[in-house]
């Protein structure tokens, strides 16, 4: 490795540790969230440096982008943003002033951070001595599966064939998360929860269309290389979040039957794909020879739609349905 690469990787690693610590130890929540988002972007860069573009994409889209948006919208709704601005002068005076981490908690998180760094170093060292720098790992197994299943991309083979059961449960978890949020109740707003800006609205029109295009591109890329259903879904969700912010009508998503069908599409299709082989006497989640690429394509598409809708719905939280009499009124 060249000197420049060493310097770059060293700086990146150091930045990750400092940002991680900064996100946990931040005194006010807004600062913590901004550091967390930056941490996510740096982590995506680290994955890219490690030669894992799939993970880099997912980390940038979900870890930094969507989780950050979720945290910020939560903060906005808790009224903490106002409080945290005053935190410097009126800590404790404001009814919902954020509490800084007490000394003990800081000491503990420092200890945990140190321990996890040490453990990571030990595991890394052990793995390296056991397997050598370019050990075979699971490569040969995945390659043989690529031959038999006919799916080109090693990542898609692992996600849909080798670890199909895990992926099935992951889609179930996402689906359950939306159900849980909706079960907590619906907040009906008489006024739009945030002002809609004309600049944002016109930006959203352009960018949403582009994001849908990018999602479709990632989807078709997924069977051959980096990309796939989850990444495409994350990009779709970014479009959904932007649309939510730019257009009040988006908040009726939860009421839309089409959207509800879309939400169940990923899990539903996966279950159908898993059960059909059982009718032919094979076991759960085993595709017939030669049919794997077709299934993979269908599943990836449906998963993308579901993931996009799920994450958008999670971002909206319980927000829904502006009362009709207010719907035609002026944008503030």
């Amino acid at each position: 490795m060249s000197l420049a690469a060493w310097v770059f990787d060293g700086t990146l690693t150091l930045t990750l540790v400092v940002l991680g610590w900064g996100a946990v130890a931040a005194r006010d929540p807004f600062t913590g969230i901004v550091r967390y988002i930056t941490f996510g972007l740096m982590a995506a860069l680290a994955w890219a440096r490690l030669g894992a573009p799939d993970l880099a994409l997912a980390e940038a889209a979900i870890g930094a982008g969507l989780t950050g948006a979720l945290l910020l919208s939560t903060l906005g709704r808790m009224g903490l943003r106002q409080a945290s601005r005053r935190a410097g002068e009126a800590l404790g005076a404001a009814p919902r002033a954020p509490t800084p981490l007490p000394g003990m908690a800081q000491a503990w998180s420092g200890l945990v951070l140190g321990l996890s760094l040490a453990i990571a170093a030990v595991i890394g060292g052990v793995a390296r001595t056991l397997h050598g720098r370019n050990g075979p790992g699971l490569g040969p197994l995945v390659d043989s599966l690529r031959e038999t299943s006919g799916i080109d991309s090693p990542v898609a083979v692992v996600l849909l064939d080798l670890r199909g059961y895990d992926t099935l449960l992951e889609t179930a978890v996402l689906f359950t998360a939306v159900l849980a949020v909706w079960c907590l109740g619906v907040i009906r707003f008489r006024r739009p929860p945030w002002p809609v800006d004309p600049v944002l609205a016109s930006l959203a029109r352009v960018v949403t269309a582009l994001l849908v295009l990018v999602a479709a591109y990632l989807l078709q890329l997924g069977l051959h290389g980096p990309g796939g259903g989850f990444q495409a879904g994350a990009v779709l969700a970014a479009a959904g979040v932007l649309w939510t912010l730019a257009d009040r009508r988006a908040l009726r998503l939860g009421e839309s039957r089409l959207a509800r069908i879309g939400l169940t599409l990923g899990l539903g299709a996966f279950l159908v794909a898993a059960v059909i082989p059982m009718l032919a006497g094979r076991s759960f989640l085993t595709y017939a020879a030669g049919s794997a690429p077709a299934w993979a394509w269908v599943l990836e598409t449906f998963i993308a739609v579901s993931v996009g809708l799920t994450l958008t719905a999670l971002f909206m939280g319980g927000l829904s349905e502006i009362a009709e009499d207010e719907a035609e009124e002026r944008a503030p």
Partner: protein, 101 residues
């Protein structure tokens, strides 16, 4: 040779804009001035760097792709700057106080 010098000049100039944007972000007195500084780095700085990168590409398709990325960033950073300013204005963030944002 001429192209290389041009590319180096473009990239250095772009880097300069990023540096100026960073200094502005850290040193300017209020929210609006800081946003003004950062959006210049985003649009013009990145534009210069992107033009430099595009000139080094052998394939014109890749060069156009790089320039498209720049255009998208210019679009979103301009809008983001406007939205930040508007949010600061609506929330009456104290103009001129360092801890305001």
């Amino acid at each position: 040779m001429v192209v290389n010098v041009g590319v180096a000049a473009l990239m250095c100039l772009g880097g300069l804009f990023f540096l100026a944007g960073l200094v502005g972000l850290l040193r300017f007195p209020d929210v609006y001035a800081r946003i003004h500084a950062v959006t210049k780095a985003d649009t013009l700085g990145l534009g210069l760097v992107a033009t430099g990168v595009a000139l080094t590409q052998a394939s014109p398709v890749v060069a156009v792709k790089v320039l498209l990325i720049w255009m998208l960033t210019a679009l979103s950073s301009g809008a983001a700057g406007h939205l930040l300013c508007r949010a600061a204005y609506l929330e009456e963030v104290d103009n001129g106080r360092r801890e305001a944002l």
